[in-house]
């Protein structure tokens, strides 16, 4: 290996530039941040039949995961496909920029958008009477933010393989599918058997169950298994993204 000393701060500057770029695209940022909070507010606080702190907490677990899926799938999946069509990635790929820094920058922007969406949902949950210990809050924040990762990788794989329009359609289908099948809107226990079976195959289901475990709600199966499966699915998503990167000409 010929020694290559990267200039210091490449990763940091790439992340900062990507955050700035997202910030200047409010047409993308505002809907992805507001939608999950609006859904949460509507379904759990406004029109729920038995409003209670317990429902506020139980639904918070799932909606937090839901909040992570949007920025990850749309920012990465559809976003990367459109950037590819506009020739924005081509120069990055032939530049002395580590691939990791490019991906990290996109991920940072997705996590930041998720963070903003989460802040709104948590606020609504607190207003709705949710009470959690500081440790539970910390774990929940960590899990919800980490939920961005598998979906960002799935999105990246899509974005590198599909056209802009195709990727938007696929991201939409995945977005809604992951939310419903993963039991993020309606608890998995209340879903028909076949939907629950299919739900086992989506990471959102396992992440949702982990979130329920953190907030002390009843969980289907064991948390350990859900954690292992979620990590395994993230690894598969990483392979899917990596092979997409390798085979895409630009």
């Amino acid at each position: 290996m010929t020694d290559l000393v990267l200039p210091t701060g490449v990763w940091r500057r790439e992340c900062a530039a990507e955050l700035k770029r997202s910030w200047r695209l409010p047409q993308f940022l505002v809907p992805t941040v507001l939608t999950p909070a609006a859904f949460y507010g509507l379904f759990t606080l406004a029109i729920a039949q038995n409003r209670s702190p317990a429902t506020a907490v139980a639904t918070l677990a799932g909606y937090g995961v839901f909040a992570a899926i949007g920025p990850a799938l749309f920012g990465f999946g559809a976003g990367v496909a459109m950037e590819r069509e506009q020739g924005l990635i081509e120069l990055k790929r032939v530049s002395p920029l580590p691939t990791g820094a490019y991906v990290a920058a996109k991920l940072t922007a997705a996590v930041a958008a998720t963070g903003a969406a989460l802040a709104l949902i948590y606020l609504l949950a607190i207003v709705g009477g949710a009470v959690l210990s500081p440790a539970q809050w910390l774990l929940l924040v960590a899990l919800h933010l980490a939920s961005t990762v598998p979906f960002a990788l799935i999105g990246l794989g899509l974005g590198l393989r599909m056209s802009g329009k195709g990727a938007v359609a696929a991201a939409n289908a995945l977005f809604l599918g992951s939310a419903v099948l993963g039991g993020l809107w309606i608890p998995s226990a209340m879903l028909p058997g076949w939907m629950r079976a299919v739900g086992e195959a989506v990471p959102s289901y396992h992440l949702g169950q982990l979130a329920l475990e953190i907030v002390g709600m009843p969980v289907i199966g064991s948390g350990q298994v859900h954690g292992t499966v979620a990590i395994g699915m993230t690894a598969l998503a990483a392979i899917w993204a990596w092979t997409g990167w390798r085979r895409s000409p630009a």
Partner: protein, 302 residues
Amino acid sequence: MEKDLAAAASLTDVSKRLGGKPVLDRLSLSVRAGEVTALLGPNGAGKSTTVGLLIGRLRPDAGEVELYGLKPERPAARARLGVMLQAAGLPDVMTVAEMVTLQSGYYRDPRPLRETLALVGLDNLADRRCGTLSGGQARRVQYALAICGRPELLVLDEPTAAMDRASARALWSTVRGAAADGAAVLMTTHDLAEADALADRVVVMDAGRIVADDTPAAIRARAGGAVVRCRSTVSTMHAAALPGVRQATSDGAELRLVSTDAIATVRRLLDADACLADLRVHDAALEDAIAGLLSRDERIAA
């Protein structure tokens, strides 16, 4: 083919198929430091594929591509490479200065921002968002991104397409400057005047192979040295058979001959047509030379 050890970048016996069709056929080419190499050829000749392989966007099916002895996709190779692509875009919401600063940050010893912007004539546009730039201005930003890191190898794909003449000339002088500082430059172009003005070496490609590789002057000389124009009743078929004629074309009104022996050609031409008018003889341009190289099989074109 032997490897050129002094080369900054080299393709050795490279073949590449795209979409099932062969695009390059055992092509070997090396680009040397301090030299501007222009890659010329008709659309579909394989110029962009050659560039794509050289910068590591594409991988060869057979043969070897090396930048400074490394595979082009290796970060250590890319650290020495600056690229201006044809189809690359710029993010609408970022400013010119932000983009150049970000790109400069990928290199270890970049030019200061102001210097890069001044070189490319973007001083006044530093704070403009890329989405508001004209086509020519955006191309200048792309050029700035290519040179901001003081690359040792500069690859420019149709650099002056969409640029006005003044911008193109300004770009030429910075390309010459980069080569004078020791950079190896490879550029593709359709503009023969550009290749003539700028290149130390012209490589002509046709159907995935190199058909000529020489200095612009030597390639011009290959055309035979002179172009003869006149109004005449002599047919192109007849003219092509005259001594010295390598190429005969006619636009209906004017007969145009590329000749290696203008005096003999003109003498026989006058014998053949006593009423010949508007006779002019001048040096062949690079264009004539290349047209001659590309159309050896169909030298008579009406």
